[in-house]
């Protein structure tokens, strides 16, 4: 690292004279191998997961991949199926980072697996993936353990077998989110696709509080569904067949706390996607917004550019 690049540990721009950050002393050689900042670029989709500036470790996890309907993971543009999972470990329990990692990886395996029925409907496959993730998290602790590991989940399965008419299936448990992002006046308008399983969201949905009052409450971020031994793993599921191009975003609350509305997220992500290394650029740009805002939580953003033919 030289002056001008932020330290991956403390985000300071101080630079270094050797292998140690001149501000926080972090060993920059060690840090690179760890989860403090993970960047995955698969071309067709990419993600960034960052520890943020406050938490001592990254309890978010992400898993992404692509393959064919027959379950082969194929490289490049020929992939007809894209999948991604973002999980956020619940900070009040033991080893939340293990829960999020186990959940993300097992869900992705199911989303991209061939299975006994190759053309299992996407929604069915998605629910199977969430169930597998829930089992993986539950397996981390003995039944009845207090404060057993748990996490949230948001997943996306993109079926591109008809390149002009992709189908997107999103599932979520907890307060990790999926957004559809598109420029102003797009055929498929930008919007939040998920509804948080959180105290605040449920108060608002039930008409008991307005958004501002609910979000100001200390219980705002308390989640009502999660994956874990004692959690309620029943996911919310939505399917989207976009009418035009855009960007699918999966993220943890470490991002959306700083930029909750879809138009704001689109303004950051859509221009970045249009550049050559688009997806990773967009994920990094979104993460940077949260870091600059203070990075009070772990931040994870997975970006999947979607090319759909606009109806003319």
């Amino acid at each position: 690292m030289t002056v001008g690049q932020p330290c991956p540990h403390c985000a300071e721009l101080t630079g270094t004279t050797d292998q140690f950050c001149e501000s926080c002393g972090a060993d920059l050689r060690v840090r690179r191998d760890r989860t403090d900042r993970v960047e995955i670029d698969l071309g067709a989709l990419a993600g960034v997961s960052d520890r943020g500036r406050v938490h001592v470790r990254n309890e978010d996890a992400m898993a992404l991949g692509h393959g064919t309907a027959l379950g082969q993971r194929t490289p490049g543009r020929s992939a007809t199926r894209l999948a991604a999972v973002v999980c956020d470990g619940v900070s009040t329990v033991h080893s939340p980072e293990l829960a999020s990692r186990a959940a993300a990886e097992s869900a992705l395996d199911v989303l991209l697996s061939a299975g006994s029925v190759p053309d299992l409907p996407a929604e069915h496959r998605t629910r199977d993936a969430v169930a597998a993730a829930a089992r993986a998290v539950a397996a981390l602790s003995a039944p009845g353990t207090r404060d057993a590991p748990s996490c949230t989940l948001v997943s996306a399965l993109v079926d591109r077998s008809d390149p002009d008419l992709p189908e997107i299936t999103v599932a979520w448990v907890g307060d990790s989110r999926a957004y559809w992002l598109a420029g102003a006046g797009a055929a498929e308008p930008a919007r939040l696709l998920t509804a948080d399983h959180s105290w605040a969201a449920e108060m608002v949905a039930a008409g008991m509080l307005d958004v501002a009052t609910a979000m100001a409450d200390v219980r705002a971020h308390a989640i009502t569904h999660w994956l874990g031994a004692d959690g309620e793993p029943e996911p919310g599921v939505v399917t989207l067949r976009p009418a035009g191009p855009g960007v699918l975003l999966l993220c943890s609350d470490g991002l959306w706390n700083y930029l909750p509305n879809a138009e704001g997220l689109a303004a950051v992500a859509v221009p970045a996607v249009e550049r050559r290394t688009g997806a990773l650029d967009a994920a990094a740009a979104l993460t940077a917004v949260a870091l600059e805002g203070g990075g009070r939580d772990n931040i994870t953003a997975v970006v999947i550019p979607i090319t759909a033919r606009s109806p003319s």
Binding site: E12, S23, C24, G25, D27, V56
Partner: protein, 435 residues
């Protein structure tokens, strides 16, 4: 780690901490290789000319010095003059309530050669006991002379036999004004001077302090001091310590050859950096104990807890550097290990403190505390093999069982024995090799 010929910095520490641990201790060994060439190389820029030094010999000429003491002081001054290397600037100062130049017989300093050494030796008979004791005035006078020799290795020998007669605040202000101007080795002759007064001077001016109970030993002592001073080739060395953001420097102590707390001597030299003065160096080695409190990490974290650099005061040119690390682990076999050096010097610092506490309690008539603290000192001296200090302790207490620190206060302890123990309580022994 060696960066520049001349100086080396070595770090002895256990870098492993348990989860949530935050205290990092390290022993920093600074060594300068022998010879003026090494000093010149370490300087990096202009080599220090062998003659570029200033020596000031300050002799107490208060009335109490009459008799044996002033005669011995003259002889000792002559012995010190004989050690002066050609080309060194020097001066002899008589101290009473004021300070007066004895040599050269005009304003300023002389340059050492055969003729000036002979002239100066002839003038020492002018050191005559007649006046009061105003040590602050002597220091102020010496400081003014030092101001005329920028860049030189400046050193003074200060000899006194009695208590300072100045108001405490006047003395403190004078001492404060001399910080960094020259180094000063202090000697007390007889037993009517105060250890704390001379220790305050030697600590502030990065020198040594000792008792010369018998005036006839003074000449040999002065010769040794001047010999050591002539071996110094690099002045104004500083230890620069960088620590990570949010960290606190708990202390920086010299722990060998003597215990000297430098914590309060820090001057900020940049973001998260401070400089601690180490004085003048010749071919020698000294140890420092650094303790830093860092922000607690989690298992697997690895940070730089301190970067120790040697610099010339006011320069950013790093002469040598060592790294203090912190690695958090859940392996208790690693995190509970204490570095041999840290354990040893923690004990030596406690030894010095136990002696000073014990003697103070003894003076205040608090027998039980004196017995407990001096007993602890006996145990620490025995356990660490500090035989020199152990022998000095035996003149003040009867040792019943050294390992357990069981002692009895001796009756009829001489002032000389008590002051010798006090003065030399800070003397440590070095830990030898790795176990």
């Amino acid at each position: 780690m060696t960066d520049t010929p001349g100086f080396t910095v070595e770090i002895d520490q256990n870098s492993y901490l348990p989860a949530g641990g935050s205290q990092v201790d390290a022993i920093v060994t600074v060594t300068m290789a022998g010879g003026p060439e090494a000093g010149a190389a370490a300087d990096g820029a202009a080599p220090t000319p062998t003659g570029d030094g200033l020596e000031m010999i300050i002799v107490d000429c208060s009335t109490s010095m009459s008799g044996d003491k002033i005669v011995s002081a003259r002889r000792a001054t002559a012995a010190a003059i004989a050690e002066l290397r050609d080309g060194v600037s020097f001066t002899v100062i008589a101290g009473t309530q004021n300070a007066e130049l004895v040599y050269p017989p005009f304003v300023g300093t002389a340059t050492a050669d055969a003729r000036t050494r002979a002239d100066a030796t002839a003038r020492v008979v002018r050191l005559a006991a007649n006046g009061a004791t105003g040590i602050g005035a002597w220091l102020t006078f010496a400081g003014r002379i030092a101001d005329q020799h920028p860049g030189a290795i400046k050193h003074a020998i200060l000899l006194t036999d009695g208590q300072n007669g100045e108001h405490q605040s006047q003395f403190a202000a004078a001492l404060d004004a001399c910080l960094g101007k020259f180094t000063c080795d202090c000697r007390g002759v007889g037993t009517d001077w105060r250890v704390d007064e001379l220790r305050a001077i030697s600590s502030a001016l990065l020198g040594t302090v000792d008792i010369v109970a018998n005036p006839s030993d003074l000449a040999a002592d002065f010769r040794a001091i001047m010999g050591a001073a002539m071996g110094k080739v690099l002045a104004d060395v500083a230890l620069r310590l960088w620590t990570p953001r949010g960290a606190t420097v708990r202390f920086v102590k010299q722990v060998a050859p003597t215990v000297e707390d430098l914590t309060a001597r820090r001057t900020e030299s940049g973001t998260q950096r401070g400089d601690y003065p180490l004085g003048s160096w010749g071919a020698e080695s000294r140890d420092y104990h650094v303790e830093v409190q860092v922000t607690p990490g989690v298992v697997g974290d690895e940070i730089l807890a301190g970067r120790v650099s040697l610099v010339r005061a006011g320069s950013d040119n790093v002469l040598a550097q060592g790294l203090i690390r912190a690695i958090w682990t859940d392996d208790t076999a690693l995190s509970t290990r204490i570095s041999r050096g840290v354990a040893h010097y923690t004990g030596q610092a406690e030894l010095a403190q136990a002696i000073q506490d014990g003697l103070a309690a003894r003076k205040a008539g608090d027998g039980p505390t004196a017995t407990a603290r001096l007993g602890r000192a006996v145990a620490l001296a025995a356990a660490s093999g500090n035989d020199g200090t152990a022998r000095l302790l035996e003149r003040v207490v009867d040792v019943i069982d050294a390992p357990s620190g069981t002692v009895r206060l001796r009756a009829g302890v001489t002032a000389a024995d008590e002051m010798t123990l006090d003065t030399r309580s800070t003397k440590t022994i070095r830990v030898r090799g790795e176990s």
